[in-house]
Amino acid sequence: MSTPSAKTNLVVAGLVVLFLALAASFALSPDKAPIRQDPELNKIVTPAPKVATLRISAKQLKASGGDTSGLDCYACHDEKKPPTVKMGPDGSVVFPKEHGDLRLMMANCEACHVGKKLEVEYEKDGAVKMPKAHEDLLTMGHGRNNRNTNCFNCHSPTKLNELVTRDGTRLTFDQAPLLCASCHGPTYRDWEVGMHGRTNGYWDTKQGAAVRQDCNACHDPHGPAIPQIIPLPGPKPVLTHGLRSAATAAEGGGPKAEGGPPKAANQ
């Protein structure tokens, strides 16, 4: 019975060699994590968005001790000479470009530009340099088909530091929500009970304060529509064996499709 036994010995010897080779390969193999990660995708760590409203209302500006010099109308206007509405050639109301910087100053950059440090730039004459993307702040856009663009629908021409409703009721700038309510009744009703507009702070007012906002904290009365916002990055596409998931493949694949357009990507 020597031949089968010799065969077995050979097989066993071969196996021992195989096992030792395996053991060596295990012990010597690199400790690199065999994880499917795409270094491109994981470069971006989005900064946390700040709890900021889209704008600062006049009330907030005063309360926070900010520069309210722009709200002093008679610093430039003559009390005896009420301003007039300028009309453009096509019959639309022209927003006074001198007031453009005020609108920009009331905007909260970090509400939309997450993580970016933005500085307002100024022209040589001290006027604010309006960024091209925000040139809409130089127009009037209140209401569909610009139905509510006449300045004196809301402003009092004789008392520029007051607002006035359609029926002649005079309101201070701090009472602006009542002016909005005079047309936007249902929204005001919702706002009163907290269904419209964001509330910050505490839902349980026994433990802390609920911070509500005035209309102007989010809506620019001269163009109340919420502006377009640059979206933050979505879920990272899934990698399967180096293949991207369907969604980004459809959009052209790659990190640029996922993290938003390059100029808006948060670095």
Binding site: Q37, C112, W203, K206, G234, K236, A257
Partner: protein, 311 residues
């Protein structure tokens, strides 16, 4: 052939073949042992306390205290800063409800990233509890939705945006299926996970009809400077690989009366949260006065997350 060995030389042959067999076996065992080589990369191994820790519901206050201190120590060792880890108990007479105004959501995803920052999610890979689905007007067919949209600005014309996160269902399919009761519904309505009890079988992830749950496929990475140090045991304590996690309505905030992080950053005020048992809360108003609906109502999950349109 495995035949009977001849009796007279049985012993000698068995001994020889036994030696031969044992050599092969020994070499095989050596290969197996060498196969365990990657374990040397394990880093901080599991401590005895960690391994033997009881389920959340079994921990007496003094045990919980020890656990919280232990977790603080672990985080300090890993990140270099000592956090505050607390165990917040539910408030009496409170049931949380979330309402989401689909007219107002513009799809900016600030909620997604506020949540990531608040709840110490892994950044690499980034785990996001909230997924915002861009839906074309005129349908609620999710297959037509897209969670990976990346236009220059939002909202895009002809679409609406629907954020989805854990709905903290009243009849949750996920808590039903967990084999070790690592996830359950608390008295205030939040479905919580005991991360230190979860065995990582992912049955709950299969059961959830809303794709709300996330699994840690690898050890989470959080940049040290982005760690939120105010932590809770059932909420935003840093998780480890191999366990499930999901939205917990910012339990470390809501149980002390604050709004969740996602709500606080929403620029359009689309998110509403509160105690449904309080008839004066915003959410109580919404459920009374607006036309609310829930996703996949026919599955019978009874979500505590309602969607509605304003205009």
């Amino acid at each position: 052939m495995i035949a009977n060995p001849p009796p007279e030389s049985r012993d000698s042959i068995s001994r020889r073949s036994f030696l031969r067999g044992s050599t092969a076996a020994a070499a095989g065992v050596a290969a197996m042992a060498a196969g365990l080589a990657p374990l040397r990369k394990l880093g901080e191994s599991i401590s005895v306390d960690q391994f033997l820790q009881q389920h959340y519901k079994e921990l007496k206050p003094e045990d919980m205290d020890k656990v919280l201190r232990r977790i603080e120590g672990e985080v300090e060792r890993q990140y270099g800063v000592r956090p505050h880890v607390r165990d917040y108990k539910p408030m009496n007479g409170v049931e949380y409800v979330y309402a989401l105004n689909l007219t107002r959501c513009v799809g900016c995803r600030k909620c997604v990233h506020a949540c990531v920052a608040e709840n110490n999610q892994s950044r690499d890979p980034e785990i996001q509890y909230i997924q915002v689905i861009k839906m074309p007007n005129g349908t609620f067919d999710m297959e037509k939705g897209d969670a990976h949209y990346a236009p220059e600005s939002v909202p895009e014309k002809g679409f609406f945006y629907m954020p989805v996160q854990c709905h903290q269902c009243k009849n949750p399919p996920c808590t039903k299926v967990c084999p070790v009761k690592a996830t359950w519904t608390e008295p205030d309505g939040i479905t919580v996970i005991d991360y230190n009890w979860c065995i990582g079988c992912r049955y709950c992830e299969a059961a959830c009809p809303y794709f709300a749950r996330r699994f840690n496929f690898s050890e989470p990475t959080i940049p040290k400077d982005k760690l939120n140090l105010e932590m809770s045991y059932l909420g935003n304590q840093p998780r480890h690989k191999g366990v499930m996690e999901k939205c917990h309505f910012c339990i470390q905030r809501t149980r002390v009366g604050r709004y969740p992080a996602c709500l606080e950053v929403c620029p359009t005020g689309s998110r509403k949260f509160g105690n449904i048992l309080d008839p004066n809360s915003e959410v109580a108003h919404i459920l009374r006065e607006k036309r609310v609906f829930v996703l996949k109502e026919e599955v019978g999950t009874l979500p505590r997350f309602f969607y509605y349109f304003d205009v």
